[in-house]
Symmetry: C2
Subunit: 451 residues, 2 copies
């Protein structure tokens, strides 16, 4: 983190040399935070103090808006150098963000090799292994010795993370084996690569979804995963830092979608317009769907006018029943998403949820009877009993819906995170209201309480 002293020194544009040394020695992400925090007109000044390597690293950590601003204000030569030295996957991401005109100009100035690497990555669908992989990795041909392999790794590019594994391919670039730097290091230099490398290569196809990639790497504790095309040719690798980002991004999506935030990638600092875009459609959809629940109440207005305490009790079981449903829904979606449970476990999961649900239903039903006694008059005690019965039934329905909906979605190969919580509460309210009001109305007609 940067000290106040340094901030001041920049604000006076005084001791620029000292600032330059400091900025070039700090971790790139901290420099990124520092530059982001500067007033707009000073960002380019600070950025120009960075040496080539640091500039490239820092650039990768800057947010979208600041990057675009710098692309506009830096000298063409410096910009081209940065773009040329970026990792191909990061470059592809940047090109996705920038206006098409600027991208075209930048692409023209890339070396043919780097242009090819970027085009390859941009050719894959978003959210797949092909899109998140990097094309910077160490490939060894079969037949090399350990000594030759080590020399090759020594010459490999500056990116430290990609160098702890090397991949052995045949003459057609087909992936055959994997070998770790450690294995190479601790073998005799004359040994042949094939003899020390491992044949059991865990790999991903380019079209594999990024969340599956992340789960695979998590499962086998891999620092890097090779990516192959349909012909089993090595085309890139995915590194563990990407896995960390993917897992966090997927968790954010799960959380937000459950809460009815459609986009799944909103941040507190997103623009108000993008917030409205990702939230309002769901809200209006929920209101639209809820017309069903409210319409279920409408025909019973005579009943409500006769027993207005119903309006006191109904929100209570609606709120509680909704919570029961969201609990089951959340636990099920999360378990499926992290791979703790699979749709094959459906019966096992449902059994556990239903047993737990039965206990919960009894407790909540009883609580409902007791609590609603607060508002029912002695003549209305039967309403409390019915509210308890509906509370219990509603809880069981809630548990069943919350468990089976996401499992059903997975079986139909639809992302279960698309089922938002509000959708489930709306369904539960509709069922609960109809059940309760029908029971009460029938009782009224049988008991002839209606005035």
């Amino acid at each position: 983190m940067l000290t106040q002293e340094i901030r001041t020194s920049l604000s006076e544009i005084g001791d620029l040399n000292r600032l330059k040394t400091e900025l070039n020695e700090m971790p790139a992400i901290d420099v990124g935070d520092y530059i982001r925090g500067l007033p707009e007109e000073r960002r380019a000044i600070a950025f120009r103090l960075l040496n080539k390597t640091q500039a490239t690293d820092v650039f990768e950590y800057l947010p979208h808006e600041v990057r675009e601003e710098l692309v506009g204000s830096l000298h063409n030569v410096q910009m081209c150098h940065i773009i040329e030295s970026m990792r191909p996957d990061d470059r592809a991401e940047l090109f996705d963000e920038l206006p098409a005109g600027i991208v075209k100009r930048l692409v023209q100035q890339l070396s043919p090799e780097e242009r090819q690497a970027t085009a390859t990555i941009l050719g894959y669908d978003e959210g797949t292994a092909g899109r998140v992989m990097t094309t910077e990795y160490v490939r060894l041909r079969q037949g090399l010795t350990v000594g030759e392999a080590l020399s090759k790794m020594r010459l490999a590019d500056r990116d430290k993370e990609t160098v702890y594994y090397a991949y052995v391919t045949d003459n057609n670039r087909k992936l055959k084996q994997v070998v770790s730097l450690r294995q190479l290091l601790f073998s005799i230099p004359d040994a042949r690569i094939e003899d020390i490398a491992s044949d059991r290569v865990i790999k991903a196809r380019t079209e594999m979804l990024q969340e599956e990639v992340a789960q695979l790497m998590k499962r086998y504790d891999l620092l890097a995963l090779p990516v192959v095309d349909r012909e089993d040719r090595l085309v890139g690798i995915i590194t563990v830092d990407d896995v960390v980002d993917i897992l966090e991004q997927e968790a954010t999506e799960d959380i937000q979608r459950l809460a009815g935030v459609a986009d799944g990638g909103e941040s507190s600092l997103s623009s108000p317009l993008s917030k409205i875009k990702s939230r309002l459609p769901w809200l209006l959809a929920i209101m639209g769907l809820y017309i069903g629940a409210s319409s279920a109440i409408a025909p019973f207005q005579t009943t409500i006018a006769a027993v207005p305490v119903l309006a006191v009790v109904m929100p209570l079981f609606s709120n509680t029943g909704g919570t029961v449903g969201i609990q089951s829904l959340t636990v099920t979606i999360r378990s499926l998403s992290v791979g703790e449970a699979t749709p094959q476990d459906t019966l096992k999961i449902l059994r556990k949820e239903l047993i737990a649900g039965l206990g919960t239903a009894l407790a909540l039903g009883l609580a409902m009877v007791i609590i609603s006694l607060i508002w029912t008059t002695p003549e209305e005690r039967w309403v409390s009993v019915m509210a308890g019965l509906v509370m219990a039934t509603n809880s069981l329905v809630a548990v069943t819906l919350g468990t089976l909906l996401p499992i059903g979605f997975v079986r139909l190969k639809i992302d279960p995170a698309l089922i938002s919580g509000p959708l489930v509460t709306t369904m539960l309210d509709t069922i609960g209201f109809i059940l309760f009001l029908t029971m009460v109305t029938i009782s009224l007609n049988v008991l002839h309480i209606i005035p």
Copy 2:
């Protein structure tokens, strides 16, 4: 993954030798899944086929119940070997799970060195860096040459992940520098460690919370992080595979707590009893709190009896307002939790949320007026207008609560994930109901509609 063929071969206890070869060559986690899937009486048979290293690895991937079962049924010698070769952090975790009597017996049979390592880790609080670290790392004393360092790393333990970095300490074990295997490998053997190692060591104190550790390692893309005690002495390291697990665990906690699942670590396959334990208390608490919202309605029963359409409209704005609140709450909690935003951004966040909230409020208010026309008779049109006003107000309150509650919690150093969604919907319902019914009652008295 295991083929059907192998399953059959075991079920016939036929070609045990082939099964043995296969099980010892497969990735440990796959063997773990295989053994877990076997009928209970066959698990120990399959486990005994594993060689020592594989047995230790597989044991670490088995679930709690199966481990306990094996501890009971395996020969003491085999069990002791496994316990002795486990990584100290995994062993500490196992001891946490097992009955105290068994732990005591196992600890007595550990070598003094391993016993010390386990005791050290168990001495730290759960959820801190000290508890998740491993004590297996490579430590180099200042003054060594690169060649000497490499020999030392060559002798280091089988655990591949811990060997890509080595830590340089002074005579008092104080952490001074860090050096990567790659740096060592590509330097002259006679060079002195101090000259090639880096002085900028990112490290954690033993008491640092595991989620902070994970965020730190994520921020700097580290494969391992050294852990030091209060005197800055190196006591362990945390590896990137732990980070992946911690981040996933924290995300699960965030998701579940938001949904009102208290424990935060429930899985679909948890026992019904533990499900009830982690869900029912919240449900009862929510019901208890909701007495406030329902009691707010109770005094207005005369109003409801006079205008029963209120009971049709109220659930609609309660459900929608609740969703608005949970959207803001979720986005804010998640942004704070992944470090996209900090409490210092309060005003910025609130401004963005309020602008978005204003747009949303207007749209929802208007939608409410239009939708509620379905149920209001021509004489009740004014109820629709009021419902729209309350919907809009409630949305703004929802956004404000959803944003400020978690930020306030963070400022007070309380985990914001403790604010569950149902808590917020309960507060919103109470406010909305009081507002709406008061407005309607006043209008009634002014307009003299009450019969």
